[in-house]
């Protein structure tokens, strides 16, 4: 910085994103950057989770889905056996 510009205080604005392949959750159809129908606050409170198949969902949505299945759960998108990504 040249001595001519003596001080800079920058307050910037950004938005956050989950960086998922899709825009919306395949279960609840809500945007990933929003939150699932059961949550009020997006972000940390309503995280995303990836499956081994690389499909992502709201954590709360896929948990509900997995619990609702009587036998082994499958990915709602690709029908492969559901495994949480390591």
């Amino acid at each position: 910085m040249s001595p001519w510009l003596r001080k800079t205080e920058w307050h910037a604005v950004a938005s956050w994103t989950w960086d998922a392949q899709d825009e919306t959750c395949g279960i609840c159809r809500m945007p990933f950057d929003g939150c699932c129908p059961d949550c009020k606050l997006p972000g940390d409170d309503c995280p995303l989770i990836w499956g081994a198949c690389n499909h992502s969902f709201h954590l709360h949505c896929i948990l509900k889905w997995v619990n609702s299945q009587t036998s082994q759960a499958h990915c709602p998108m690709c029908r492969r056996e559901w495994q949480f990504k390591e």
């Binding site: 910085m1 001519w4 800079t8 205080e9 307050h11 604005v13 950004a14 938005s15 950057d33 972000g43």
Partner: protein
Amino acid sequence: MEFLGASECNLGILETLSDDTIQEITESYDGFFTTVESIVAGTGDSSVEKEFASHVYSLCKHGLDSLVRDHFLRSLEQAFEKRGASSFWHHFDAYSDKNHPSYGEEIKEVLCKALEEISIEKQYHEKCLSVVVHALQSFKDQSPEARLNSDVERVQLFSRFRSMLSSTLMTTLPQHFPEILHWYFKEKLEELSAIMDEDDTQERESDCMDLDEKLRSKNGEMDVDEGFSRHDDLVKNIGKVVRDLRSIGFTSMAENAYASAIFLLLKAKVHELAGDDYRTSVLGSIKEWIQTVPLQFLNALLSYLGDSVSYGTTSSGLTSPLACCPTPSFSKVVTPSEGIVRWKLRLEYFAYETLQDLRIAKLFEIIVDYPESSSAIEDLKQCLEYTGQHSKLVESFISSLKYRLLTAGASTNDILHQYVSTIKALRAIDPAGVFLEAVGEPIRDYLRGRKDTIKCIVTMLTDGSGGNANGSGNPGDSLLEELMRDDESQENVGFDDDFHTDDKQAWINASRWEPDPVEADPLKGSLSQRKVDILGMLVDIIGSKEQLVNEYRVMLAEKLLNKIDYDIDTEIRTVELLKIHFGEASMQRCEIMLNDLIDSKRVNTNIKKASSQTGAELGENELSVDNLTSTILSTNFWPPIQDEPLELPGPIDKLLSDYANRYHEIKTPRKLLWKKNLGTVKLELQFEDRAMQFTVSPTHAAIIMQFQEKKSWTSIDLAAAIGIPIEALNRRVNFWISKGVLRESTGTVSNANVYTLVESITDSGKNESEELLAGDEESERSIASVEDQLRKEMTIYEKFIMGMLTNFGNMALERIHNTLKMFCVADPSYDKSLQQLQSFLSGLVSEEKLEFREGMYLLKK
């Protein structure tokens, strides 16, 4: 012969009479005439009266008693006309062409003297009349069958005499006499009022004295007695005039005169007490004045005249009527007579109506001063409860609103503030809001036609700084805060009421229940349930709470984006208040926005911590992470944000990407996307002779930072370097030129502008280290306004609306709305509210595409 004409009914008798009899009658007749003349003229002595009596006797004997009466009365009448009436009126000749202000003091004496004279004259005539009564009586006394009627004779004759007397006076009444009477009473009452005022002041002064002095003055008791006896004398004086007027048959004229004088005085008193000060209640003093001046006067007058003497202890009749006169202190228990009660009601009604009219005429000003003017409002409320003339208020106030407030010159803010004050003030008068409904309607209609109404309402509700200029709350309070406090205090009052309620009170409340007045809209709930709800009435203007919340969200977004210190206490409080009124669900998005700020602060701290641990050395031209803070948005919940590309200077860009990387480390797999044109930059520039501080937008900062490398830029190169259109650059560069930091010159290459850094700005005359904010023009707003959003959404309907108007000529708002609903059912279907359509149409009107005339929209030709 005169008597033939006078009593034709006796003609039949004449034929049966003997000559002797006729002779006797003729003689008595002549003698009667002569004696009457001297009796009336007052020249006769007792022998004449005796002779007169014998003639009367003789005439009566022949059945000519009616002739005796008629002739005697006519003689009296002639004499009265000549001596009594004409000389009575003669007293007032000098005042016939004067106006009452120039009557002068002496006319009071003239009136008294004239009345005294005519009373003496009347007494004299009555004495004469007694002579004839006596004569007729002595004839009747000898005929036994007429004996019982003896008193009837006297009563009848005297009543004929009195009506003769007053009709004589009435037919010769000069036009200006009632005026003189009126003036007399007015003057006397004013005198009386002045005496009472003096007493009042003395009383108040004596209240201020210490006990010793009070005792001393009690021993003397001079002052009070003096005032009191002056009062008595005055009443006696007036009473005598009234009595004399009554005795000459002017009873109702006298009554009218003093009544109109009392009302005039009362009116003047009300005007004097009311004045233009609305901060004090005057109704109490008016009532007190009625009690101490006119009523006390009337009481004294009526008892002097013997019309009404009925006090707690029945008057024995031994004391003089004046002794019953109530003292100014009203310590005695007095049962007022029916006449006085009626007077009291008349006077109070008149006073209430007068004060009410005065206050209604000034209601606009009173409401501007509200709540300082709440005393005047309370007075008006009581007046209206008494007179029931609420409709007068509604009419008058609406017309003053239309004339003074609902005009192009008044700002929307002023109108809204007056609207809120009106609600508050009228709520005090009319808790059910029945008349408020009627008064508020034109204001609401007018406001709905203004484009900035929603914005102003939301600002007024949520912003403490610009908000209530005349509110009762603490300065800096928003209207919402104030409403909240009102609600709380009202609830407390309700609790207290319940606490003290007993069965008796419950019964009183129940018996006071009244059905809703007809003015009330039956759809709006019953009187007992309905409570005037200021917020509801404001929402009613906007159309729906959703629109209000939407507008607030945009304002909140704008505010939050300009925060650099994460201090959002005020906003949290406001959102909490809005949640109470509009429900948690409506405020969900606002809450997420607030939460973003809270999260951003936390994340910012964590990132700083993480980077200080790594302790990496800063290279040349590198900025420390301490120079950067950020606000991180959950964009889905924010209103649309205007995102424009912007190339930032290398060191800043590096700083941002480092910051983003750290974010990703902390919040994996979440990532940051910078909105580079948004934010706030504080710069301090060092010139040869001084340092200057600026607070500007990132675009402004990016521009000026380019001058670190090169002292001079053409506009084309500069625009390319920071990646914005050249028009946008030129607009922003103006800021730096206006601050004297850059200088503009025309370059050599194809008339492109050249901007050069001014390294010494001694000549600019700017203050040192002044903090300047970049121009906050409409075009630089980062959040799309609700209007803009709506405009974007509505544009597809614009063609349709234009087509409709081309076909139909002109259409009212509702018809356009219904037509759109009917035909635009798909892709996208029309889902806007009436208010949204109205706001869109008023936009088209201001763009001069449409015209709005007499409630109809039409194409602008």
